[in-house]
């Protein structure tokens, strides 16, 4: 995993692209270290971070790095709360505080298993950079609530899409697509990111079939670098794991259950 420069850095927004219901925030980071897929950054706008709904946001927000290259980092945003609301207002040449890359990302399997990338909603973000670095073919299964969100599938190449309302692709859950894939060829490693309920289904399904799975979790965080102990999830062997340093990508075998716990940073 890449180490981050010490301290937050003031970077410049190069663009904000619409992607259906989502936004892709592009940030110039010519001097930043190459992130590993699954690593994340803490983001806060340089101006007017605060003073929104309920006099928030105050803390920076954690976002997976969705894509990296040519001196730019890309982040996938969905406007769901005062933090994401303010971030979605950014325009080219605005300035942004960035701390990262942080955390433990995906570890590409080296045992010849095929890669199954399973994403849900805005959680597809870290699978894009993973697909970029994976050697060889990967199978991509993405689930969305509706057609507006399913536009986000364009972030990855060659994805099979499922929607909850059946408006695009398969009418049902992305985990149904995963069942079909694992039934046809279980010699796979699953890399997944999405809502807790989806990740829990992926975890249970992979555990039952002894398929290794790496789950990128989401949790409310104050710091992102192991200081606050606020983002913990229970570990199967007892105690807690910090999503920010032991994760966000955690071997599914370490978890008994993927729970809603602290929810998603917004």
């Amino acid at each position: 995993m890449s180490e981050a420069p010490f301290g937050r850095r003031l970077l410049t927004v190069t663009g904000m692209d619409e992607l259906g219901s989502y936004r892709v925030l592009r940030v110039a980071d010519p001097d930043g270290p190459d992130p590993a897929p699954g690593q994340f950054a803490m983001l806060a706008t340089a101006e007017r971070w605060g003073g929104g709904e309920d006099e928030r946001p105050y803390l920076p927000r954690a976002f997976s790095i969705a894509r990296w290259g040519e001196g730019e980092a890309h982040f996938l945003l969905e406007d769901v709360g005062p933090g994401t609301n303010r971030l979605c207002e950014l325009e080219a040449s605005d300035r942004l505080w960035v701390l990262g890359p942080l955390g433990t990302g995906f570890t590409p399997s080296r045992d010849g298993r095929r890669a199954l990338l399973v994403g849900g909603g805005v959680g597809i973000a870290p699978l894009a950079i993973l697909q970029d670095v994976l050697e060889g073919q990967s199978t991509v299964l993405l689930g969305f609530r509706d057609a507006g969100r399913a536009v986000g599938a364009a972030l990855l190449g060659g994805a099979q899409v499922a929607t909850d309302d059946g408006s695009v692709g398969y009418d049902g859950r992305v985990t149904d697509l995963l069942t079909t894939e694992l039934d046809s060829d279980p010699w796979a490693t699953v890399y997944a990111c999405g809502p807790a309920a989806m990740l829990e289904m992926v975890r249970a399904m992979c555990a039952e079939r002894s398929v290794p799975a790496q789950l990128a979790l989401e949790a409310g965080m104050a710091c992102g670098f192991g200081a606050c102990f606020g983002c913990v999830v229970p570990r199967r062997s007892g105690g807690y794991l910090r999503v920010c340093v032991e994760g966000p990508v955690i071997d599914a075998a370490e978890l008994d259950l993927v729970d809603e716990h602290a929810g998603a940073p917004t």
């Binding site: 010490f6 301290g7 937050r8 605060g50 670098f225 606020g230 809603e260």
Partner: protein, 314 residues
């Protein structure tokens, strides 16, 4: 420059608040840059207890207007593993051939025997320069926080004082009627310094409105259905620990008032903290009598905040 604090020579006046900076985790995240750019003139450990603690059930965080409510529950490895595993790593991070960063170990015990054991262990290890007592824990007999009751506080400090020759700092709780009386009691018991303010007692309820989002998504945790311990409260507390402590800029004005009140009443040095985000905020605390300033929640927003605040302070 050099600042004398209880006989320790510090490079500047800015340290960290206990439990707001994990140097070992930070080294993992930032590598060698952490040591090269270490932001604090002394490093305060998180609270160490005799037995290991897992900490509170999640959720542990709630974003408040201009601040953070936390209910972390003092997770730590326990005294034995802190000494065996963490101390060598911390000593290596803090070492410097010209001016090592002194390590202040923060300890909490629920009985005088536990506290004495913790303080004696600190005395026995040369890597530890000073001890900070976390007295924001309930007295097993009265249920009151020891640190909120001047008589109980003085007795505890008097009990542990002879166990170590190292500087003894008492971390005061703001959740008391007269913080200056508590500071005086700590001084009378033999404390070398006091630090304040700890977090203000606070709570948050699980949002009723759909679409309301705290730091999380508004839903209570799926496997942790909690009922309120207080029958008068008909909603579900958001934090797994039920209630927590408020920190951040929201408490800065309270901190300034309490530091001023304490500094006017004691002769020992005062470490002031509470919502410090800039050099000007640190200067305010020094202007009302603080010798050192601690940075806490601001380090969550920027791990290098301590260095930024210290740079222009003197």
């Amino acid at each position: 420059m050099s600042v004398d604090f209880c006989g320790l020579q510090l490079a500047h006046r800015v340290i960290n608040g206990s439990g707001t900076f994990d140097a070992i985790a930070a080294q993992r995240a930032f590598g060698a840059a952490l040591k090269a750019e270490f932001p604090f003139a002394a490093y305060v450990s998180k609270t160490i207890t005799v037995e290991p603690r897992e900490g509170n059930l999640p959720p542990r965080l709630w974003e408040a207007p201009g601040g953070l409510v936390n209910s972390i529950g003092l997770p730590n490895k326990g005294l034995e593993r802190y000494i065996a595993e963490d101390l060598p790593q911390l000593a290596s991070i803090l070492a410097d051939e010209h001016r090592p960063v002194p390590l202040i170990t923060n300890v909490m015990g629920s009985t005088p025997e536990e506290l004495s054991r913790l303080v004696e262990a600190c005395e026995a290890h040369k890597e530890i320069a000073a001890v900070e007592l976390n007295v924001s824990c309930p007295n097993v007999k009265t249920g009151l926080d020891i640190g909120a009751d001047p008589a109980a506080l003085e007795a505890v400090v008097r009990e542990v004082r002879p166990r170590s020759r190292k500087p003894l700092i008492v971390k005061l709780t703001p959740n008391t009627a007269d913080v200056a009386a508590c500071a005086q009691a700590a001084q009378a018991g033999g404390a070398d310094a006091v630090s304040l303010i700890n977090t203000l007692r606070a709570m948050a309820l699980t949002p009723r409105r759909s679409g309301a989002r705290p730091l999380g998504d508004g839903r209570p945790p799926g496997n942790v259905r909690r009922s309120s311990p207080n029958p008068a409260i008909t909603s579900v507390p958001w934090l797994g620990g039920g209630a927590g402590g408020l920190s951040g800029p929201a408490i800065r004005a309270v901190a300034l008032a309490q530091v001023a009140a304490v500094a006017a009443r004691v002769t020992i040095p005062v470490v002031g903290m509470g919502g410090v985000q800039t050099t000007a905020h640190a200067r305010d605390l020094i202007d009302v009598g603080a010798t050192l300033v601690a940075v806490g929640t601001e380090s969550f927003r920027d791990p290098a905040a301590g260095a930024r605040i210290a740079r222009d302070l003197d």
